[in-house]
């Protein structure tokens, strides 16, 4: 298992190539990318709680491994200033069969969205706004 919280860019294809399925027959990956909804996004600033972030991500990954019998898991999440189109984060899960790998990745994503201590701020020509949490993301946690 590898957990990384970093301000530097990374290449998901390189990370995937280095991801060991550890005997699993299924690997699922997900990349989150900075989205420009309004067409005038200049940057996204991601703040986090350094003393808490890595431990929280490790806790979610531990839970995912135990619940879905994952053979390996990877979580990389960036903070700092990102441009539209840049990769924010990546999750990879490996399991014996695909359903476990998909579910493990889905579970990790739901927890990353609403329980990992990150806060996004969108910078546009007209100002800066914190991204509001969505009820649908909070509701997704209840399904687990």
């Amino acid at each position: 298992m590898r957990i990384a919280v970093q301000d530097t860019a990374f290449d998901p294809s390189v990370e995937l190539a280095g991801f060991d399925a550890c005997g699993g027959g299924a690997v699922v990956t997900f990349n989150g990318v900075v989205r420009d909804d309004t067409g005038d996004l200049q940057a996204m600033e991601i703040e986090h709680y350094p003393a808490m972030t890595e431990a929280a991500l490790r806790d979610f990954a531990d839970q995912a491994v135990a619940r879905f019998n994952l053979t390996n898991a990877l979580v990389i999440h960036r903070y700092g200033t990102l441009k539209p189109g840049e990769v924010i984060m990546m999750v990879a899960t490996a399991a014996k069969h695909r359903k476990q790998a998909f579910q493990g990745a889905d579970f990790l994503m739901d927890y990353l969205k609403s329980r990992a201590p990150f806060w996004k701020k969108e910078i546009t020509a007209s100002g800066a706004d914190w991204v509001a949490a969505r009820g649908v993301d909070e509701d997704a946690l209840k399904g687990w």
Binding site: Y49, M109, K113, R115, P117, W119, K121, A133, E138
Partner: protein
Amino acid sequence: MQVNVLYFAWVRERIGHGSETVETSAATVADLMAELVAKGPEYEAAFADKSALRAALDQTLVDMDAPLGSAREVAFFPPMTGG
């Protein structure tokens, strides 16, 4: 007792700083919040909508009615937007 209080995102911006040491006799996180609100209008603004706030004790998410106990660090922040 003394606790280190941290603020993140718009809570930090409204208060004007990211951390401070506070002397408190609060029993719970909510009690500490009430003490902080009394410190001034910038705190009132940050804590105006309690339903929009989350808290962590020693880097673990807790409910607002959680006892402070022997926590060294209390953090207040908006709902997270990771992923």
